[in-house]
Symmetry: C2
Subunit: 241 residues, 2 copies
């Protein structure tokens, strides 16, 4: 039997490793984490993050879901895919803005109320800095997404995603193909066809593992920001100068 305290310690260790809480004193964190609440969501569930009820800051402890916008026709765009460590902060949005969370796996989230977050921010400047960093990263990610979604062809989109996965997830596709396709703003059929195109260039998927003939086949799809995490960044093997 695991006690509540043991649970709390486990959660605490998990949270304190997140970028949002980096560089903050143990004691300050412990205090803030006391206000933490837990919520479970089930696979298949769809929740609207509107302001009335969700003016909070959410952190994913485990699970998987996508943040989407759905229009009248039923078409959807995927704003982001969130799993362990992911952060959503509806508290920062307009009271009239809402997004839809579609849960792909059973998901456990921690949340803090707007008041608790703002109070902590007032008392702890490092937390304000981390919040600014988190939001700035979101801005940058959204700008890069806009670029990828609007400017790239189907093949380039998939190539871009694969090189991403190669660099950050060690050659493994983290999600199902259809989920990635929807994230890239394309249909599963087009994703599949793009993969056959890439196969001709020496890029194969073997059970979600990316297999390359020479090793540099995906480099041309790499953007500099995610590229900066690559082992070969700015060496003679890298396309980025």
């Amino acid at each position: 039997m695991i006690t509540i305290k043991e649970h709390f310690n486990k959660y605490h260790r998990f949270l304190s490793k997140l970028p949002l809480f980096k560089g903050i004193l143990e004691d300050d964190l412990t205090n803030f984490f006391r206000s933490m609440q837990v919520k479970q969501f089930h696979k298949g569930e769809m929740v609207t993050f509107n302001m009335d009820e969700h003016s909070k800051l959410y952190i994913v402890y485990e699970g998987l879901f996508k943040l989407t916008k759905i229009d009248e026709k039923g078409d959807e765009i995927v704003l982001s895919i969130l799993d362990q460590g992911g952060v959503v902060s509806p508290m920062h949005f307009s009271p009239y803005y809402d997004v839809c969370a579609e849960f792909i796996k059973n998901t456990t989230m921690f949340y803090f109320t707007e008041k608790a977050v703002n109070d902590f921010s007032t008392k702890n400047h490092q937390f304000s800095i981390n919040t600014i960093k988190f939001l700035a990263d979101s801005v940058q990610t959204l700008m890069i997404s806009a670029e990828v979604l609007q400017l790239k062809t189907a093949k380039e989109k998939v190539g871009w995603y694969l090189v991403h996965a190669k660099i950050n997830n060690t050659f493994k596709l983290p999600y199902s193909k259809s989920l990635i396709a929807s994230y890239l703003g394309m249909k599963p059929e087009s994703f599949s066809r793009a993969l056959t195109e890439l196969k001709k260039d020496g890029v194969t998927l073997e059970n979600k593992k990316i297999v390359l003939e020479n090793g540099d086949e995906l480099c041309k799809y790499c953007d500099k920001v995610s590229g900066s995490n690559c082992a070969f960044f700015q060496t003679e093997l890298c396309i980025h100068d």
Copy 2:
């Protein structure tokens, strides 16, 4: 002859009215504004906001330009259109991320160095709050853009932009049609054709002024966030409940 001091006072008055500096004591602002620097850009100029030189916070005093990303093929996406009061903060981005600023009019910008901004943020919590608000608004705007650009048809995009202009700019198109077209991710030809479609529904443009037959022709294109600034928001005349 206008003295430097008079200039500074004029600039100071302008800056202190911006949301970014709301709720901050006069004295604190005066002190921070001392570190302000001014830079002019010319119509037609193109500048890459890369980190090496532009790790700063920029504020538009007057002029007009667009922030874009351009790919190898020469295709571009417009990330945002900036005029008086607009803020760009390359200092918050990754050192490997760069955007291109294309100046449409001669433009005067103020800027603060990353260090000055961070120091001010440390000393003044309200400025941190305002920075968080600014970035959160950027996130939300980008999410709404993503939705509009990916989900809407050409006609809907133009309708959405017009209803925007109707609510915020009192029935006036703020920029040229081609600029708006590129912001909406479409070609001027498609923009023009979308306008002819809208004309059939009673929406006419007379020298950049939006003229409506009944008055509610654009309501169906309205999103709730910009809709909340409409005079009829949540009355029986509004589609939003």
